[in-house]
């Protein structure tokens, strides 16, 4: 379980050190205070496939699902520059997450080196006039290290077939720390949910997920996998009129119920890993929020998962109070804020603090 995070020169963080992280980490803060960037730093450092993850993050942030391959060094650098604090790619990005007592530490360093990329794409692409094509593309390097594993050096390359992320080309296996990020509208991919459901079923763990879903939604009697239009998906056995039941895909029941299913399956699937949930309140009616917290707290304990959950909602935080009272020692409140001089900061506050503030109606967001 991550106990400490150190971030240098990444996104809006010039220098950040956050300690005393717990199993349940609740992330709050105003818009543009660095909440998503903090989650990104955790997610990016969770695997040696950081360059690919970086582009996934861009998609999550809705800043481009499709990359137009740059043909000049400056545009190519621009593809990566938004990772760097104040877009200053001269300074090395460094992210370190460590558990206590340092049994599992992961570090990720990202920098532009002085070397020039060996393979150039220009044999198949038109070179705009006036570009410095002959000087080649600058090389960005990712160095990822996890305790007990060899360091992985990843050097993305622009080739005639596209952007190669480097890991396979270097002949190294990608090393993953189990982690998943649920975006505000995510967690509802039927394919992914079916895959996780099947895996949990194989492990003999699906009962806990079924229990969470049927406990909260009494009209759901059971869960199973079936096919619709040739696609596997999770179906619910829904109680109908006159005692009859009908199987229907979760997506048809409601977006919120489907999202909760996705989150629960994610927690079960990423056993002993980390689950990041951005804006957890999205899609949920306020009356379901206390049960939502209870379900994910219980599942996280059950599957030894560390949670990082962001929210803007006061109702959602108020609904957390019963869990905060029960699990105060296992909770950390992370308060993100933007400062004028030092970029964004994230303060770590205790579960007791969160409990006191919620009980006494002191603003924590």
């Amino acid at each position: 379980m991550i106990e400490k995070v150190e971030v240098h020169s990444f996104r809006c963080f010039r220098k950040l050190e956050v300690s005393n992280l717990k199993r349940f980490n609740i992330l709050v803060g105003k818009n543009a205070s660095g909440k998503s960037a903090f989650l990104e730093s955790l997610f990016l450092s969770s695997s040696s496939a950081a360059p690919s993850t970086f582009f996934q993050l861009k998609a999550i942030r809705k800043i481009g699902n499709v990359i137009t391959l740059p043909t000049d060094p400056s545009s190519y650098k621009g593809l990566w520059e938004d990772m760097f604090y104040e877009f200053n790619s001269e300074k090395r990005i460094w992210i370190k997450v460590s558990s206590n007592p340092n049994s599992d530490t992961r570090t990720l360093a990202i920098e532009f080196t002085t070397s020039i990329m060996e393979e150039l794409p220009f044999n198949k692409q038109a070179i705009p006039s006036g570009t410095q094509a002959s000087s080649g593309m600058p090389q960005v390097e990712f160095r990822w290290k996890r305790t007990g594993y060899p360091e992985v050096l990843i050097q993305p390359k622009v080739t005639s077939t596209g952007l190669q992320m480097g890991t396979k080309a270097e002949g190294k296996e990608t090393i993953f720390f189990p982690a998943i990020w649920f975006t505000p509208t995510g967690a509802d991919n039927p394919d992914e949910n079916a895959k996780r459901f099947a895996e949990l079923d194989r492990r003999g763990d699906i009962g806990k997920i079924k229990e969470a879903m049927t406990k909260e939604f009494s009209f759901i009697k059971d869960l199973s996998i079936s096919y619709q239009g040739g696609i596997p998906m999770v179906f619910a056995d829904v109680q109908g009129g006159e005692g009859r039941s009908r199987k229907m895909p979760f997506g048809l029941i409601s977006d919120g119920v489907n999202r909760l299913l996705g989150i629960c399956l994610g927690i079960g699937y990423y056993k002993s890993g980390m689950v990041l949930i951005d804006q957890i309140e999205d899609g949920f009616h306020h009356k379901i929020l206390p049960a939502l917290w209870e379900s994910i707290f219980n599942l996280a304990n059950e599957f030894n998962v560390q949670l990082f959950i962001s929210t803007h909602s006061r109702e959602c935080l108020e609904a957390l109070l019963p869990m905060a009272q029960q699990h105060a020692k296992d909770i950390c409140l992370l308060r993100a804020a933007r400062t004028e001089k030092a970029g964004c900061t994230v303060d770590s506050l205790s579960g007791e603090y969160l409990q006191a503030a919620l009980e006494q109606e002191i603003e924590v967001r």
């Binding site: 006061r314 308060r335 804020a337 933007r338 400062t339 004028e340 030092a342 900061t345 303060d347 506050l349 007791e352 603090y353 409990q355 006191a356 503030a357 009980e359 006494q360 109606e361 002191i362 603003e363 924590v364």
Partner: protein, 239 residues
């Protein structure tokens, strides 16, 4: 909201209206004063206005915890306020104003022991610790006294309208069912009687609102009775 038990043991909600939700407290000023309740806040805010002090916010516990006394809630507020920041910086200072009750020394120690880092409690009540962050503890009614806010307010009533206290003292004598009431409860009864008798437009007016009444207030905010508290507020809020 109150509930009544019906003969068939079903709870009926007598008032479906939820009380209006107040916004959660979020400091906007560098100095925060924590007091015991709404009535204390009324006096402190009136004094801050009178003294033209504009850099302090005032808050108080909204809920008591099950099985815990009201003072426990003050410590929760203290914990929660101490974690607040303004523009990324900790607050400039926190002061606690609470009743001395029956034992002023114990009341001081209780608060001092609960000041969370980075705030360091003052060494004595009625003083301001002026380290990186200011802290202060004021025990109502004042130096060398025991009692509550009501004792301080009764003194203020006496200062403005001496005869009225004679009347409520008589009530205490007549109402023989109050013989086993504590001094703090008697003081509260007297204050409520006085306020009710002065507030022509609303005899049920709370002490928390009395300071917004111009002609119906039996006390004077500029009374020397409030000098100790005024001095404390001035010192706490002067950078």
């Amino acid at each position: 909201m109150s509930t009544y038990k019906l003969p068939w043991s079903k709870k009926l909600k007598c008032d479906e209206k939820e009380p209006k939700r107040e916004k959660a407290f979020e400091p906007e000023s560098p100095y925060v004063i924590i007091c015991e309740g709404f009535q204390d806040r009324g006096l402190i805010c009136a004094l801050l206005g009178h003294l033209k002090i504009t850099n302090c916010d005032v808050t108080f516990p909204k809920k008591r915890r099950d099985g815990a006394n009201g003072k426990d809630a003050i410590f929760q507020v203290l914990t929660a306020v101490a974690g607040q920041k303004l523009a990324g910086e900790s607050l400039g200072g926190i002061a606690v104003i609470r009743d001395a009750d029956e034992n002023a020394d114990a009341a001081f120690k209780e608060v001092a022991d609960n000041f969370p880092a980075p705030y360091v409690a003052p060494k004595a009540p009625f003083t301001i610790a002026k380290g990186k962050y200011r802290t202060g503890i004021f025990l109502v009614p004042g130096k060398g006294k025991t009692g509550t806010l009501d004792h301080l307010l009764i003194d203020a009533v006496v200062a403005k309208n001496p005869p009225v206290i004679e009347c409520v003292n008589k009530l205490e004598t007549c109402a023989n069912w109050m013989v086993d009431w504590s001094a703090n409860k008697i003081a509260k009864m007297k204050m409520h009687c006085v306020v009710a008798s002065f507030c022509k437009d609303d005899p049920g007016c709370s002490l928390g609102f009395i300071w917004s009444k111009k002609d119906d207030n039996p006390m004077d905010i500029s009374s020397p009775i409030f000098k100790e508290l005024s001095d404390f507020l001035r010192e706490f809020s002067t950078p």
